[in-house]
């Protein structure tokens, strides 16, 4: 079996397992390449029609291209799209210029997510994080329980063997489910090519620059690149040796910001 088909089967098995266990489930879609790939896999798992909502956590700082892409494909793919925002903090003008990156991510992303989970009574969330993205994410389980404070208890994670994912215990508030944890950045782009998955134009080079990882516009820097097609991105990655999130400001503030953010409930 082809490498990408092995990875796809694994993802689809996890998505179906999560849906079997939790009917109060939703998928987080940041409109980036990983969660758009996850969205594609969800469409495949359910033969074209995703039976649960797709949530976009909107900080209001996303690139205009991302909003356009989101709305276009939400319509085209018949998604039940929910946009989650921390309205109180947005009104209070929270932003990357105010306070630390940790505070801003925590308010506009994590707390917006908390509100949305509470509002819709969600018991599980599908997320497109990958182990090779960041050392902290390399430690994740496929089914990762969170308590009522959304804390990730990374020092005491449940055992996970042979595709048997933990059931719900009394203290579990909700689960984070990670169906593409086993894919690398290169796997993602090769899969995008094979499946012809539409991607935001921000990933493709314009005037010698492109984004390798996208999020909020003020906190993302483009890389120097002439890769303007999926094929060119793949060959660029095959020879490149810089890390994927090197353009993401929140990772740089302090060596353990990502760990702190994630233990508070960040994606």
């Amino acid at each position: 079996m082809e490498h990408l088909t092995i990875l796809e089967n694994k993802s689809i098995f996890i998505i179906r397992e999560a849906y079997y266990r939790f009917k109060d489930i939703a998928m987080l879609w940041s409109v980036g390449k990983d969660s758009t790939t996850l969205l594609w896999l969800c469409r495949k798992a359910f033969f074209g029609q995703i039976p649960f909502p797709v949530i976009h956590i909107d900080t209001t700082y996303k690139f205009p291209e991302m909003y356009r892409f989101r709305d276009e494909y939400a319509k085209k793919w018949g998604l039940n799209l929910i946009v989650g925002r921390n309205e109180g903090q947005i009104e209070a003008a929270m932003g990357p210029g105010k306070g630390s990156k940790l505070d801003c991510c925590n308010e506009l992303k994590t707390n917006a997510l908390k509100e949305t989970i509470g509002k819709y009574g969600l018991k599980a969330l599908l997320l497109g994080i990958r182990r090779d993205e960041h050392g902290i994410r390399a430690k994740e389980r496929v089914f990762s329980p969170r308590d009522e404070n959304f804390k990730w208890d990374y020092e005491n994670q449940p055992a996970e063997l042979w595709d048997q994912y933990k059931s719900t215990a009394a203290e579990d508030n909700h689960f984070r489910v990670h169906p593409i944890l086993h894919m690398t950045e290169l796997d993602i782009w090769r899969y995008i090519k094979r499946e012809n998955i539409p991607m935001s134009e921000l990933y493709f080079s314009k005037e010698g620059k492109r984004y390798r990882s996208i999020g909020c516009a003020p906190c993302c820097s483009p890389i120097e690149s002439n890769a303007s097609s999926v094929d060119e991105i793949i060959s660029e990655l095959e020879t490149s040796n810089t890390s994927e999130r090197s353009g993401r400001a929140q990772d740089k503030e302090d060596a353990y910001t990502m760990q702190k953010l994630r233990s508070l409930g960040y994606m």
């Binding site: 089967n9 182990r131 960041h134 990374y154 042979w162 933990k166």
Partner: protein
């Protein structure tokens, strides 16, 4: 390039150099991004250490402060031959469930032994877990050769001890390699200080391992869920072994009812002639409806039973008392039950039987048990069809034990 990635778990006693080795392997093969190296350099200085290769894997602040590995981390790298997924497992007894989670995904293992310490408690425990979980491809790395002056005699002593230990577990190591992970001797590059050693480096040993072979076995298709797709019922599931073919007559287990496969499909592949081992597909059948947990099989070779005889390993720090309810989970089957008999329990670090006909199983122990279930399940011998020969026991929402049916 091979299609299938090879999953390798790194095991061994606390501080014998597992994370350092993985870090070194990533660094020496040029797989480490320069800014990541810079981050490690800074973090090492912050902890008052020299460049600490273990930090490439140990990313939690607590791990770096204490200089230990708490949980498994997966990392990816590639040689010309194939892709690797390297799973770095913690060496402390308290983190055994993490080590087992890592080992359960591996097809091969690197076992580290610090030459100045020799075989220790977790070395024994980990060897036993490897043998229990059927990991047969093992390279033993005798680490910290720099501390032993790179002497051949010191290496030979340890080599003999480890060969005896592994022989007792019916494991023949593929290689026993003298290395220094921190200095990079015999990791990716051949050591000039260990010229008396003529075997492969770690990197060469990895490339010499075999990837998992998909053998031609009888069909086992595990039903995962039932969907309605455009008004039609579709059962989804995974081919756990063998091949599922359109038009094939199958038995629905454990009921032993007959059915015929009339359609196999994926999204945008409406009519597949067959699905291979590992494929997740939707099917339609002629016959009564299916439900989760059923196994479709071409012949009835599996055992259909409500009594499981197995070896289990206890993974949580709370002991088991005979009669406590558990849930048995094997492939997509889930059935309530309890352990009816503990024929014997033992500590795999000493491999001496602690007790026969016991009433409890203590943390990190292995036990031979009889499990009574409330309904029939379909199982196989682990060494014939691993997918239906291994299971997890849950209690109160937590996986408490893993088991092997032999």
């Amino acid at each position: 390039m091979e299609e299938r990635s090879l999953h390798i778990v790194i095991v061994g006693h606390v501080d014998h150099g597992k994370s350092t080795l993985v870090g070194r392997l990533i660094y020496d093969t040029g797989s480490l991004p320069p800014e990541k190296l810079e981050e490690i350099r800074k973090a090492s200085e912050l902890q008052g250490r020299e460049l600490e290769f273990a930090y490439i894997m140990d990313n939690l602040e607590e791990e770096r402060k204490k200089g230990i590995t708490i949980d498994i981390a997966h990392t990816f790298f590639m040689t010309k031959k194939r892709r690797y997924v390297i799973i770095d497992a913690p060496g402390h007894k308290e983190f055994l469930k993490n080590m087992i989670s890592g080992t359960s995904q591996a097809e091969a293992a690197l076992l580290l032994i610090d030459i100045s310490q020799g075989i220790q408690e977790q070395t024994r425990r980990h060897c036993y877990i490897l043998s229990l979980l059927g990991v047969r491809q093992i390279a033993v790395l005798v680490n910290k050769m720099d501390l032993a002056g790179y002497r051949e005699e010191s290496f030979n002593e340890i080599r003999n001890e480890i060969e005896i230990l592994l022989k007792g577990l019916k494991i023949i190591p593929s290689y026993i390699i003298p290395v220094s992970a921190s200095k990079g001797e015999n990791v990716a590059l051949r050591s000039e200080k260990l010229t008396w050693y003529k075997g492969p480096t770690i990197l060469e040993a990895l490339d010499n391992f075999d990837t998992l072979k998909i053998e031609d076995k009888g069909l086992r298709f595990a039903v995962q869920d039932l969907y309605t797709v455009v008004g039609e019922p579709v059962a989804v599931g995974r081919v756990e072994a063998g091949v599922l073919r359109k038009g094939q007559d199958v038995f629905v287990l454990p009921e032993k009812r007959k059915a015929r496969i009339t359609k196999i499909k994926k999204y945008l592949e409406e009519d597949m002639p067959f699905a291979a081992t590992g494929d997740c597909v939707g099917i339609r059948i002629e016959g009564p409806g299916l439900k989760r947990g059923q196994i479709l099989s071409d012949k009835i070779l599996s055992t259909i039973t409500d009594t499981i005889h197995a070896n289990i390993f206890w993974m949580v720090d709370k002991e088991y008392r005979l009669g406590t309810p558990i849930i048995f989970r094997c492939a997509t089957q889930e059935v309530k039950g309890s352990i009816r008999k503990i024929l014997k329990r033992f500590d795999p670090a000493s491999i001496e039987v602690v007790e026969h006909n016991a009433t409890t199983i203590k943390p990190a122990e292995v036990a031979e048990v009889e499990i009574g279930l409330e309904a029939m399940v379909t199982v196989d011998n682990f060494f014939e069809v691993p997918e239906l020969g291994r299971f997890v026991l849950e209690h109160a929402g937590y996986p408490v034990a893993g088991g092997i049916i032999v």
